[in-house]
């Protein structure tokens, strides 16, 4: 178990090129499960590889348990890795796969046996110990790969998109298993994914990255409720947050293409204080904060917006509505309704307490 400190970490592959990771500052506490999330090419895997020692750090300092590890050989860092490609030797049995790393470290045979059987028990692999990887399912293979990490008694687990090879159903199941495993062994874990659902469901803290920079660090709920910028608001959450461009006048009316709504007193004071009155801004609202019930329409009677339905999808317990407000695409999630047709005009209430406002130029949330 360990703490990790990233101080101004930077990675440049080719001098003169844009850094793959830049100004990366983060502290990871002991036993934490931190998820790096972001689109492809955002630098999350590069950062993980720097922790593992597979990539050199161009600039900055990386500490594991207060020891500077920039120049420490990977094998001395006591880190275990789990990858998208199952880290398994195809010609070895499950037992030998788990034991191999320990044999390399010249651990005594009885100790190896104990560790392997213990890990197999934790992961429910005891009956598969004599099988070879090809006789296992994808989920079982990844469990063996996890087992190989567990037997090492590593200080830190690094997981690089470990569930990407699995089908959707198995991924959900393995997500749960990894969380349970972390609860059981409490090893500090960094988990890299581009799947924001994995990030939301697994992390004790999420690090959202884009273009090599950290966009926001926080607990899943905190990031969901208070995104730092338009990117984070759009990336975290399914369906993503809706964004509508417009201006707020002195009376506190937000006006954009096809929309004119009264904003809350809190937001009006905030925008006044930050001098955003009559300046171009972006309103952000989550799909579940757009309502069609009478109670909400009464509560937010100054924030009723006319929308034209593009598509209505009944998902069982709820209906997602894809619609247009002026030129902007808007998605709303409302309780299940079957009577909504394409082309329908609906009047929906925006929960103005829950909207966010972003600077149109910097894309940062106004706070």
């Amino acid at each position: 178990m360990a703490t990790l400190i990233f101080k101004g970490i930077k990675k440049v592959y080719t001098p003169g090129d844009r850094p793959a990771v830049d100004d990366f500052n983060l502290q990871i506490k002991d036993k934490e499960f931190v998820v790096f999330v972001g689109p492809s090419g955002c630098g999350k895997s590069t950062t993980l590889r720097m922790v593992a020692g597979l990539e050199e750090i161009t600039d900055g300092e990386l500490y594991i348990d207060d020891i500077l590890v920039n120049d420490m050989a990977p094998k001395d860092r006591n880190i275990a890795m789990v990858f998208q490609s199952y880290a398994l030797y195809p010609h070895m049995t499950v037992y030998n796969n788990m034991a191999f790393g320990l044999k390399l470290r010249k651990e005594p045979k009885d100790m190896i046996d104990e560790k392997v059987r213990n890990a197999a028990q934790i992961l429910g692999l005891t009956e598969y110990l004599e099988r070879k990887p090809k006789a296992l399912s994808g989920g079982q293979r990844q469990r063996v790969a996890l087992g190989r990490a567990i037997v090492r008694n590593a200080k830190v687990f690094l997981m690089d998109e470990p569930l990407s090879n699995l089908d959707a159903k198995l991924r959900v199941q393995m997500r749960g298993e990894i969380i349970k495993l972390h609860k059981k062994i409490e090893t500090t874990t960094i988990y890299v994914t581009h799947d924001q659902i994995e990030a939301m469901t697994m992390a004790s803290r999420i690090v959202v990255m884009k273009d090599g920079f950290i966009q926001q660090v926080g607990a899943p709920k905190e990031i969901y409720d208070n995104p730092n910028n338009i990117f984070v608001g759009g990336f975290i959450g399914t369906p993503p947050m809706n964004f509508i461009e417009g201006k707020v006048d002195k009376k506190g009316i937000f006006t954009g293409e096809g929309i004119s709504v009264k904003i809350s007193k809190f937001h009006q004071e905030l925008l006044e204080k930050k001098s955003y009155i009559d300046k171009p801004i972006v309103l952000g609202i989550r799909p579940e904060d757009i309502h069609d019930d009478e109670k909400a329409k009464e509560q937010f009677k100054d924030a009723i917006v006319k929308i034209v339905v593009d598509v209505a999808e009944l998902l069982g317990s709820e209906t997602s509505i894809y619609a247009k407000v002026g030129d902007s695409d808007v998605t709303a999630m409302i309780p299940a309704r079957v009577d909504i047709q394409i082309g329908d005009e609906l009047h929906m209430a925006f929960d103005m307490e829950k909207v966010h406002f972003f600077d149109q130029e910097t894309t940062q949330r106004i706070k």
Partner: protein
């Protein structure tokens, strides 16, 4: 036929041999150079070992190093010399390359490309080369390709299988076709 895996890693080469110890007399482990190991594996084990991506990840996990791995069947030596593979493997990114990936990398050097192309023409014949290029020209539409080559569709399939057997590259797959075209065009 045999199956060769070239592993480039300058720090822990000696230890890497241990991975293949389990295969006992099914493998021949050679240290081609200080930083390069060649493991020859009998073909009947190919099926089990085909996913070298797993071995690659395992080496990273066990040894904490990234490696470059190239794996080829021995029929590729009819158009690709071992010395060329050995020379090239050191300059590749750390990853796993099959023959298609390797050819694509080799095609980036004009002299190398011309050299391989010459050997390939001698080995598989101009008729097969024309077939490969026509498949590419017709966007992998095999029916149209067969028509253009005045072949029955089954004859085209037969030719494609022959090309696959000889070069170990499957031109029915985009990766394979792309690799061969990058050498032949």
């Amino acid at each position: 036929m045999r199956y060769d895996v070239y592993i480039h890693q300058d720090k822990i080469l000696d230890d890497l041999g241990e991975i293949f110890d389990d295969l006992n007399n099914h493998t021949i482990i050679e240290h081609v150079a200080d930083d390069l190991m060649k493991i020859t594996i009998l073909l009947d084990l190919e099926e089990e070992l085909v996913d070298l991506n797993m071995v690659h990840a395992s080496i990273m996990s066990d040894f904490g190093v990234d490696t470059t791995m190239v794996y080829v069947k021995d029929n590729v030596y009819y158009y690709l010399s071992q010395s060329l593979i050995i020379e090239k493997v050191r300059h590749l990114d750390t990853a796993v390359y099959d023959i298609s990936g390797l050819l694509l990398e080799l095609s980036k050097n004009k002299n190398t490309k011309v050299n391989i192309k010459r050997h390939m023409v001698d080995y598989i014949g101009q008729e097969n080369i024309d077939t490969i290029l026509m498949i590419a020209k017709k966007n992998m539409n095999l029916s149209v390709t067969a028509k253009k080559l005045y072949l029955h569709r089954n004859s085209l399939n037969y030719r494609i299988d022959k090309i696959h057997q000889k070069t170990d590259v499957d031109v029915k797959k985009f990766r394979g076709l792309r690799a061969l075209v990058s050498i032949l065009e």
